[in-house]
């Protein structure tokens, strides 16, 4: 006894026809696929570069911050060095004693157009 009820199924006969694609179309498809692959590769490359840059951003921000802080510190040092009190003390030193403040009439001011 068969486990299954036997039924007769008629399978239509397949008629396989060979389709011959023209070479031109194949070439075009190939070019398209290549262009697509290239664009995809390029896009991924760009994404990678951007990711790399994004990873670098916090480090650069930190560096900029450090430079800014150093810049501010140096600026403070310069202002401190050029403070009036310092300059007055410098002016009293023997090597600068010959220096005099110029009279306003002796200063030639040139207007740059």
């Amino acid at each position: 006894m068969s486990l299954y009820n036997s039924t007769t199924v008629s399978i239509p006969r397949l008629q396989i026809k060979t389709i011959v694609l023209p070479y031109g179309l194949l070439i075009r498809l190939g070019i398209c696929l290549m262009a697509l692959s290239f664009s995809l590769y390029n896009s991924i490359e760009v994404q990678n570069k951007m990711t790399k840059l994004q990873i670098e951003i916090p480090q650069i921000v930190k560096e900029i911050q450090t430079i800014k802080e150093e810049n501010q510190r140096l600026k403070l040092e310069i202002i401190r060095f050029e403070s009036p009190e310092e300059l007055i003390n410098h002016a009293l030193r023997p090597e600068f004693k010959h220096l005099r403040q110029p009279l306003a009439k002796d200063v030639l001011t040139i207007q740059v157009p």
Binding site: Q54, I57, E69, L76, I79, P84, E85, Q101, K105
Partner: protein, 666 residues
């Protein structure tokens, strides 16, 4: 085979049920995505994003670098905001066993005193996620702590952010104490409610609303694994506006140096010097000694004795001006003369008139007036040069007789600004005191009685601030034009894109003519004798320049009584006498009372204040590049000295001869 109707029915039910479920799902999506969008977006943002505030920079004060002709210079900041860090701990993420080591090492790195070490250790035992350990650390200190802590955290497997820093900006003063009492500073502790900076006083307090910026907002991702985004600024910070002052840092340094020396020399309690441009009213220097160092503000505010050094006494402390008022008395007399002439009436005085000064009695006064010496006769030049009380009182007696007391008071107030604030941008400006007829003092005594005008004539019974006196002298110096003392040139706000917006700019408008230019010219001419040989302030004579001014010495009022021991000595003058570059007032508070052989009484304005005018004036004029207008007016011994060609040489000799003839004196 055909499906049976029962199966079909079941299929339809299942399909409908599925459709119903999908519909519910769609409806739920609609509810979440459309109806409750805002709510869910908010929750999502709260979960994934963190909004932190983007600190706005507090505005700065800049000095005036454009007063020197032909020397263009970039604006110079009087303070710089340098980054500083606050150290915090998250005690809950630090195991108990490590707290001692951490606390001790931090204290060692920061070199904290023993009393602070116990406080730091106690913070680690608090049940909190954020405890303040140390404030205002320098970048080096931050780095030192990080260098220790990060390897320590790795070794003991504790969170890297168990110790963390919050960045802030600290006011630093590259010029140290320069201009300290005027600028003041901001407290180290912020306002607990607003989180804003709290000014300690001075210009920081007065311009706080301009200096304070508006913090911005930055969104950062709450994702420790993906530190790709450093944050997006959603609201850019608005920096505070910068205030450009009229004060020049070099003139200020000169004034501070000289006033310090003068106070020490006179063994005085203190002193101050204010220099102003008489035409624009711009204050060029405002020095005060003892100094107030803003970086050390706590010690000044914690000590009641030092607290008074934190205020600008040139506006807060009025005093009896004494003889410096005599120039105003003569100006009032000249003004009365001019008005009487206009009205077609008889003039009350002439500068060359020989006025008798032997009679020292005046109506209403119980005691006769006194001069330093007895003089028989005087004219205007002698009266001013010798600073005669009697001559001045005699002039005012004529003014009162001709124009009345109300006119006299009105002139002092309306033209010279006594009894009203000058409006200079300094907090707590005193109005001073100009007596009013009919008004009573708190003691019940009348402010104005019969002898009051004679007292006013020599600068008694009136209280004036240094700025009121300076403004009055500036009016004389600039040819009689009204002038408003000011400390601010402009207030500028710099936008995020770098463009500037001017919020305020000082532009002197067409000034009102308060005094006739002729009166101003004559008065300056007379005041020039004061600084020449025979004058009370010959020590104020600036070599190579002409100058005009007047000394003043008055007794201080202590416990509502004139003190015989404590004096206020002053000198106010201008240089050069023609087209003055500045008016300068020197005040020495409580110089020690003693006689210096060969010099005179130490407490007199001509001895302790006048030389400071010369010293500051000489250096200031050289700095400004002003050409000497008295090329022979140098002291004896200087190769440029020529007594015959010096300014007023003949007039001085004439005046000496006149004094000899009238009073028998030199």
């Amino acid at each position: 085979m055909k499906p049976c109707s029962k199966d079909l029915k079941r299929l339809v039910i299942v399909a409908l049920f599925t459709f119903f479920l999908f519909s519910l799902l769609v409806l739920q999506f609609y509810k979440i995505q459309i109806i409750e969008k805002e709510k869910w977006v908010k929750i999502a943002k709260r979960q994934h994003q963190l909004v932190i505030s983007e600190r706005a920079r507090r505005g700065l004060f800049y000095s005036n670098t454009s007063i020197k002709e032909g020397h263009p210079q970039a604006p110079e900041p009087l303070m710089v905001d340098v980054p500083a860090f606050h150290l915090y701990a998250d005690p809950l993420s630090i195991p108990e066993a490590l707290r001692d080591v951490l606390s001790t090492t931090i204290c060692h790195i920061l070199k904290l005193p023993k009393e602070d070490q116990a406080h730091i250790r106690a913070q680690f035992d608090k049940k909190s996620r954020s405890r303040k350990l140390a404030l205002w650390l320098a970048p080096d200190e931050k780095k030192a702590i990080q260098n220790f802590f990060l390897p320590f955290a790795k070794e003991h497997k504790i969170a890297r952010n168990a110790l963390f820093f919050i960045q802030d900006y600290k006011r630093s003063y590259p010029f140290g104490k320069l201009l300290g009492p005027l600028l003041h500073t901001v407290r180290e502790e912020k306002d607990p409610v607003t989180g804003g900076l709290v000014p300690t006083g001075g210009l920081e307090m007065l311009f706080n609303k301009y200096l304070t910026g508006k913090d911005g907002k930055r969104v950062i991702l709450r994702s420790p694994r993906h530190p790709l985004d450093t944050g997006k600024v959603i609201t850019p910070p608005e920096n505070g506006a910068d205030v450009y002052l009229t004060i020049n840092q070099y003139l200020q340094a000169i004034a501070e140096e000289e006033i310090e020396k003068a106070v020490i020399r006179a063994e005085a309690k203190g002193g101050w010097a204010v220099m102003m441009d008489p035409y624009t009213g711009e204050v060029l220097a405002l020095a005060q000694y003892p100094f107030f160092d803003p970086t050390n503000y706590r010690s000044f505010f914690n000590d009641p004795k030092l607290q008074e050094h934190t205020k600008i006494k040139a506006v807060t402390d009025p005093f009896e001006p004494g003889s410096t008022m005599k120039a105003i008395t003569i100006a009032v007399t000249m003004q009365a003369n001019a008005e009487l002439k206009k009205e077609g009436k008889k003039e009350i005085f002439s500068p060359n008139e020989k006025v008798e000064t032997r009679n020292t009695h005046f109506p209403g006064r119980s005691k006769p007036l006194k001069d330093l010496q007895n003089y028989n006769y005087m004219n205007l030049s002698l009266g001013m040069q010798k600073s005669s009380n009697i001559y001045m009182a005699r002039m005012i007696q004529r003014v009162i007789d001709a124009k009345g007391a109300d006119w006299y008071r009105k002139t002092l107030q309306d033209i010279f600004g006594f009894g009203i604030k000058t409006g200079v941008e300094i907090p707590s400006e005193s109005v001073g005191l100009l007596p009013t007829p009919g008004k009573k003092h708190p003691s019940g005594a009348l402010e104005w009685s019969a002898p009051t005008p004679y007292s006013l004539a020599m600068g008694h019974n009136v209280l004036a601030t240094t700025f009121q006196m300076l403004r009055a002298y500036a009016i004389i110096a600039n040819g009689g034009l009204d002038v408003q003392p000011t400390l601010v040139r402009k207030i500028v706000k710099t936008r995020a894109d770098g463009t500037e917006k001017i919020l305020y700019e000082h532009a002197p408008k067409g000034a009102k003519q308060l005094l006739d230019p002729g009166i101003s010219r004559d008065l300056i001419q007379v005041m020039k004798y004061v600084t020449k040989p025979g004058g009370s302030a010959w020590r104020a004579d600036i070599p190579g320049f002409t100058e005009a001014g007047k000394t003043g010495t008055s007794e201080k009022i202590v416990n509502n009584q004139y003190s015989k021991k404590d004096h206020i000595s002053s000198f106010v003058g201008m240089a050069p006498a023609k087209n003055p570059r500045f008016v300068l007032m020197i005040v020495i508070d409580e110089p020690v009372k003693r006689f210096i052989p060969g010099v005179g009484k130490n407490q007199m304005g001509g001895v302790c204040a006048a030389p400071v005018f010369r010293l500051i004036g000489e250096r200031a004029l050289a700095y400004l590049g002003v050409e000497p207008d008295d090329p022979y007016g140098y002291p004896k011994g200087d190769p440029r000295h020529d007594a015959k060609k010096a300014d007023l040489a003949d007039e001085i000799q004439g005046l000496l001869r006149l004094n000899q003839a009238w009073n028998g004196g030199g």
